[in-house]
Structure formats: structure tokens, C-alpha cells
């Protein structure tokens, strides 16, 4: 089971209300390479992956939920004081019409989250390669959002998340090597 902790993994501060940035950030909430996809992808792949790497998928999957909460906090803080007019100007008019200022799992273009964003192939190497690709795509997305953001407080938290994608990618690469080593070891009699 999981235990909730009343603590963000890393502090999230924003300089000012900025629904435009929230619109971009929602990509990492309910988008294809976002944190929800990541958490659900890894925690679901655990059941059919070799024992040697179940711990890693469990721990990275769990950390992704902490990242999801950080993104939610950013979006919440960037939009909580936004007027309907400001939401409209930021391109969030369609969001406001359905959700008011509530968060929802969709990408920055408004498409709802779908399980087709993730895969579980049962083949451990195929699954881990997907995970590495997902981390690299998430890292790139964070970079593109940082490039468009002029909020130094927000960028500090986004840089933390960008660095975590790099670490996760590297750990998944090590997991691939562990499985290859195990496979080759079993062939020696």
C-alpha cells in the first residue's frame, strides 16, 4: 500500500498568477509524457518484469506521484486567483467552461489523458526502453517549458524535475544492463 505524506518532494513557489504558464504545464499533468503517464506506466509494468528490477520500477513509479503533486501545485498556484477573463486570455477559456479553475488530466491542447499513452509489452527490454524514451521526452518537455517561462521561482522547481528525468533515465539504462547480464549469465553452464 501507499502512505501519503503532507510534504512536497521539492518546494514549489510561483512569482505571480500566470494562467498562460499553467496551460503549458498541464502537459506534464495529463499529457503523453507527463507525470501521471509515468507513474501508471511503471507501477503497472512491475508485475511482469524480472524480480531484479521490480524495486526500481516501484520506487521511480512512486516518485512520479510526488512529481504529479508538484505539477498540480504549480498549476493550482498559477491559476487560483485568475479571473474568467484572464483564463480566456491565456487560452484556457474552453477549460474554464468545463472545469472552472479545477485541475483536470488533459494535455496542453485540451485532450484528455488516455491509457494509449502508455504500454506494457511483457518483454522486459521493450518495456524498459519505453521507460527510457518516456523519461527523455519528459526531460525535453520540461526544457521547452522552461524556455518559455519567465518566472524564476517556477523555473527553479521545473529544473529540479528536469534533473530527475535524467536520473530516472540513467537508472532505467542500468536496469537494462542488469537484465542483459542476468540473461547472459544463465546461458553459461
Amino acid at each position: 500500500m501507499w502512505y501519503y505524506e503532507k510534504k512536497l518532494q521539492y518546494p514549489v513557489k510561483v512569482t505571480e498568477c500566470n494562467p498562460r504558464l499553467a496551460k503549458y504545464l498541464i502537459e506534464q499533468y495529463g499529457g503523453a509524457d507527463g507525470e501521471l503517464s509515468a507513474a501508471l506506466r511503471y507501477l503497472n509494468q512491475r508485475y511482469s518484469i524480472p524480480d531484479k528490477v521490480i524495486g526500481l520500477l516501484t520506487d521511480i513509479g512512486t516518485e512520479e506521484f510526488a512529481h504529479l503533486e508538484m505539477i498540480a501545485t504549480m498549476v493550482y498556484k498559477l491559476t487560483k486567483d485568475a479571473t474568467p477573463e484572464q483564463m480566456k486570455e491565456a487560452g484556457l477559456g474552453a477549460h474554464y467552461a468545463t472545469h472552472d479553475n479545477a485541475l483536470f488530466y488533459h494535455n496542453s491542447a485540451g485532450s484528455p489523458w488516455t491509457a494509449t499513452y502508455i504500454q506494457a509489452k511483457g518483454d522486459p527490454i521493450a518495456d524498459l526502453y519505453e521507460d527510457i524514451a518516456a523519461e527523455e521526452k519528459a526531460r525535453a518537455t520540461y526544457q521547452w517549458i522552461i524556455n518559455m517561462s519567465d518566472d524564476p521561482c517556477l523555473n527553479d522547481s521545473l529544473k529540479f524535475l528536469r534533473e530527475r528525468e535524467i536520473i530516472h533515465s540513467q537508472r532505467f539504462r542500468e536496469a537494462v544492463e542488469i537484465l542483459k547480464f542476468e540473461r547472459d549469465r544463465k546461458q553459461i553452464f
Binding site: E5, K7, L8, P11
Partner: protein, 87 residues
């Protein structure tokens, strides 16, 4: 951890976030390097430090962890604000 002056809420939370981040990082590292004795030693040392900071925080600001991993005051104070996104 040897600190006698009281921290404010944000300072103490930041201490916890720092220690816990090191623990997350060491956890992922040890998942793929399970024989690194020095890292395990560091992990166990930081786990003690994390517990100490959290006990200090909870005494002043209420429970951090759910389902019995933290103690409650009276009345039941798990449900008290602020939640992490409100802090």
C-alpha cells in the same frame, strides 16, 4: 542534527525535504547498486536524521504521515490545513 534554536515551519520543512531527497536519490541508486556498502551506511544514517527532523516538525505543526505512521493530537489533527499545495 544538533540544533537547539527553533526552526520556523518553512525552514524545518526544507530540512526534511533536503534529507528526504537524499534518501530518494540513494534509494534509486541502491536499487541498481545493491552492494555499495558506503551508500547503505549513508542511507541508514540519513533515515535516522529524517525521523528526527519529522518528530521535531510534528511536535509543532501536526502529523506528516497517514494511517498511523504519525501520532495524532486531540482533536484529530491529520485533517488540518495547510496541505502541501497550500503551504
Amino acid at each position: 542534527m544538533s540544533h537547539s534554536t527553533p526552526y520556523n515551519r518553512y525552514e524545518l520543512m526544507e530540512k526534511i525535504q533536503m534529507v528526504d531527497f537524499a534518501l530518494v536519490e540513494l534509494t534509486l541508486y541502491l536499487d541498481t547498486h545493491p552492494n555499495d556498502q558506503q551508500a547503505i551506511q549513508q542511507f541508514n544514517q540519513l533515515a535516522v536524521e529524517s525521523k528526527e527532523y519529522k518528530a521535531l516538525y510534528e511536535k509543532q505543526f501536526g502529523p506528516l504521515r497517514q494511517f498511523g505512521a504519525s501520532f495524532s493530537g486531540y482533536p484529530w489533527n491529520w485533517i488540518d490545513s495547510p496541505w502541501p499545495w497550500q503551504l
